[in-house]
Symmetry: D2
Subunit: 354 residues, 4 copies
């Protein structure tokens, strides 16, 4: 923390701030500049709250210097975290593709799509059983029946499955049936849910909130890691801006920033960012090119009759062609890791990320 | 819903869209314009999902025409909803002031502040017992002990109390002890919590999410009303923008928009929007001038040693002077309602809004 | 400037940064903290560019400490600037009302509206002669003919007039005919235009850009003051956000922030922020309550046939009632200045701000 | 335009709107829905201004249906525009790389960097002679001397050169000396400058404004085309959002949207979006993968001593490695066009886009 004083702050005001800093157990070091005094706060364990100092007489600004996250920080763990989902690894230098419909609608729908995406190269199946919906009148998902269908998909195809947990009760259920639990964008700061995820033995994919800074997103992951669960994947899915040509604005620069600040893997969901099918393929290519560890894409064999978000779901042939396109892009991004095999003996994709 | 076709859409494509509309049980009415065809979707019960049509061949855009909310809409209930909190009314043409510290820290702190704010003119006491915090290492509130202290405040001062419920379990507790339950900005789309609030017999104050449109905010209130609870207050508390001179950007235009679209009362929390004490008083005046039904303001007798958000808390004398300033402003805004008495025989404020 | 080093930065890297700082003529003072080193940059004249240091080995962040503006800063001039427009003063503790149509359409239209707004209490007449329009096919204003009509309005009513200059050529014309020159939001960082305004002897009202921070806005004013023109008024008119219920989001917290950081007066234009008539009156009241030095409001006697922005223009009766409403609000905000007379012998308003 | 009536609008109010529509020469077609009436506006030439109808009694909303741009629209010209810059083509299915320093600082600096970037594969040299700077005290560019140096670079290396024109006067100069004229983000709605560009015989690269929608950006291009200049390139360079980990948020979804809506080529500038060197390479790869027609990248041989934006400039070796990485990515995106030769006999790059 750096406390910047007004140009006309008196010596008494400077002394008052020094005293306030020391009363909290920190060390204060005033730096007389040309125009004004700034006071460094030293020997703090963890971040200092700016609000302690902002209201004191003579204080102009209080500027945080260190980041508040610890466990998720690359400074605390320099090597990449590799997350294990069923037999698969994510974050080990391969590219992991997660695909499936927005919502599970029926066993037939789910298994049909799962076979399509597996054949095309997907490694993990996604599908919503509990859907957070803006309107109470919209389809809210099949619930537990959806989880049963996901288990069936795994049985039929050998793919691990991921689905969203919308609250703590649902988390218990999802944890039992799925291979990975998703926490959605609207729940990124549902701290009860994050604490529950921290006590889980299943990996968690944590979507970025619609208006979350990278720092807040990492702090949400810190909640999970602080609870003891180290298997966390971050998922960029677009943020809300004034732009109206896509549902959200996909912020791909968050990927290198997360990779620099943290050891946790980061994937990209272009489907929810775009909201329209015709943007999903170009944005998927861009997500791979920017260096994401994986992609999460919505695919539906009959999107025009989907119960949720049909307009952003790819047709199976589009998904196939996408998988073909991203393979050579990924080879460019991670040439040095090109030989690393993703351990997926039973999930025989078409060579993506292996 | 209006489905707009490409300028070069063929008759087959138009027919395909008409068929898709009718397959869903709606009536399709194509409107041949000068340049292109648009197709109106009629006789839908509730809103139509644009995504059904966006992906069809020849479709350029699908434009929603009606709003998706029902119960919260002023079209469904023209007269204002009045919310009853303890002996008080909010939304009946008076101005209701809610004040107190960000977090309950001790009985002494809470009672001291409560006496200050009551004397200055506040009607309801606020104070956090369960605090949603960005960092897992920050003070998370006193929990149940905080609720006990709130009950003590009510006993000592006669003021009704409001505090936040951060999840469903906490909701049960809060509902038992408090007179009104707050749902925070980060939980505005925590649909499990909204459904729980819908089953409550206590009034609920619902804060606007950091990146929520007014429509999404009203839809969140719709969840509560759909569950059977009609006692809902909306609270504007700023949205996240690029602006960096305040913590959030207080969007006061949402107040007249909510009042036009909905019958629910709307109040303003300038403290969380500003994040800095020196903006709170001018923004409070502005909130009253724009026509809000109430204010929620943070006050602390020793903000420099507060455990949470001290920098945005007013000193008691500042709060007193604020109450004096807003009284004549409110008389301007609601001159016709100036005679309406707020039913608060025991909570003898200093005349605000009465 | 504070240069923060990586936790693992070596002594060589710290030395390299110190050397880079000193090579630029500044003084470097390294502060060894508990976890990492930070290096203060001292004795800089004016702000230091962070980019000099961001790319050096071992550097984590470079945090600017001082603001880059000088002449506009309240630190350089503690007392308020008062701007003289014709016989009027703005910023002297009175409330100044600027009103008129979006665009000048004809002499009859302009004079009709001017008489209405003067009678209701406006002090200055506004009207666009050169209109910046998003579309090249939209009405671009009457041009020089519009300036001639503005002169006629002044002659008929005695009100000073303000109109926008869209480029340097137009500035020459506007400066000759109008009493104050407006620089629009889209031109806030048109630095050629700002430099031209700096050489003008007429006061300038500088609108905030749609995505400008307060600091950038003040820096734009700094361009004008640096050119020698001290008569600058800032005008908040809303910023662009995700919110879709108003054209822009009026950021009223900028008013106290500008007043704290700068000595220049700041007014508010609620019409362009709202874009819809029914929000203009509540937002105008809020602007006065927040402490603005003035209001700029669009009024049209026949808005449904206006050539530009009719939907946001008040009817004359609405404007009259607005003027009645804001008078008592202003008395609350500036009670101590309530006796100050605005020097406007010929422009006899109905008592606003006097 | 679709005018949506209140649910309780009377027949008189509907008739009033019909009359208002017809008074303007359009055809009105009321559509009685289940709950409310909507009225289609037909036979309009060009877009209809919503504000004509928004204020009429009984009107709830006025929804624009058609886009306001004509000449830039792909509906008016289905085939891609190819822009000619010196001997080069941009938009013909090849990838065009524009590189150079932020600002021209000296002949030696410019020629040194130009040789580096040409050897690495760049096709066009960029460098600012007139710099729009937020602060009046920052380096504003070498001015005409910078243009002379650019001419020298062309002479020495054979590369066409592009530089920014900050106002109409400067445009005359730049047009004379450069092969392409850049209009910067802050000038995207400087309509005088756009009109001047419309009269130019040189190609123009038009950067997206910091808070411009795609529609406004295309309308700015419409100004240039409407003036007679068809050689326009659009350049995405990031928009302003709440995100604070990059200078701006690069909105790559604008690329496929522009390509769908318009026939004009679109390139990406990741340097200004990122503001930090370590994000530029991943974002450049992403820009190529999303399908941009070109890249504009800042390169400096000694960024730590650059006079402007050094922190975002790549080192020459980084640029070389970037060029190597994007070549195979581009082959994936445009495999069908892989054989198209960019006509640059004298500018022998290393095979990018040829």
């Amino acid at each position: 923390m750096l406390v910047v004083m007004d140009r006309k702050a008196t010596q008494e005001e400077v002394d008052g701030v020094v005293e306030a800093i020391e009363r909290r157990g920190y060390v204060a070091r005033p730096i007389p500049g040309g125009e004004r005094v700034a006071i460094c706060v030293l020997h703090n364990q963890g971040p200092v709250d700016a609000s302690y100092f902002l209201g004191l007489p003579g204080v102009k600004e209080a500027i945080p210097v260190t980041h508040p996250y610890k466990l998720v920080s690359r400074e605390s763990q320099p090597e990449d975290t590799v997350v294990h989902i069923g037999d698969l690894c994510l974050g080990n230098g391969t590219l992991t593709i997660i695909a499936g419909p927005c919502a599970i609608e029926s066993e037939e729908q789910a298994v049909t799509i799962a076979r399509h995406v597996k054949r095309a190269g997907a490694h993990i199946f996604r599908g919503g059983a509990f859907k957070p919906r803006t309107s109470p009148y919209a389809f809210q998902g099949l619930g537990e029946e959806g989880l049963r269908i996901l288990a069936k998909v795994r049985e039929e195809t050998g793919m691990p499955v991921v689905t969203e947990a919308v609250d703590r009760e649902v988390f218990d259920l999802v944890e039992t049936h799925a291979d990975m639990v998703q926490i959605g964008a609207r729940n990124m700061q549902n701290f009860s849910l994050l604490k529950r995820a921290g006590r889980s033995h299943k990996p968690v994919v944590l979507k970025r909130g619609l208006s979350a800074t990278v720092q807040e997103w990492l702090m949400a992951a810190e909640y999970i890691m602080e609870g003891g669960n180290t298997q966390v994947i971050l998922c960029e899915r677009g943020v809300r801006t004034f732009a109206d040509h896509s549902r959200n604005t996909l912020d791909l620069s968050s990927v290198p920033v997360v990779q620099k600040e943290s050891h946790l893997p980061v994937i990209v969901d272009p489907s929810h960012a775009a909201g329209r099918r015709d943007q999903v393929i170009p944005l998927s290519r861009a997500a791979v090119a920017v260096g994401a560890h994986g992609l999460m894409v919505e695919v539906h064999h009959a999107p025009e009759s989907a119960l949720s978000d049909g307009a952003q779901s790819l047709y199976p042939q589009q998904f196939e062609s996408l998988c073909r396109e991203i393979d050579p892009i990924f080879r460019v991004v991670r040439p040095q890791r090109g030989l690393g095999l993703n351990k997926l003996p039973k999930v025989a994709g078409r060579g993506l990320g292996r």
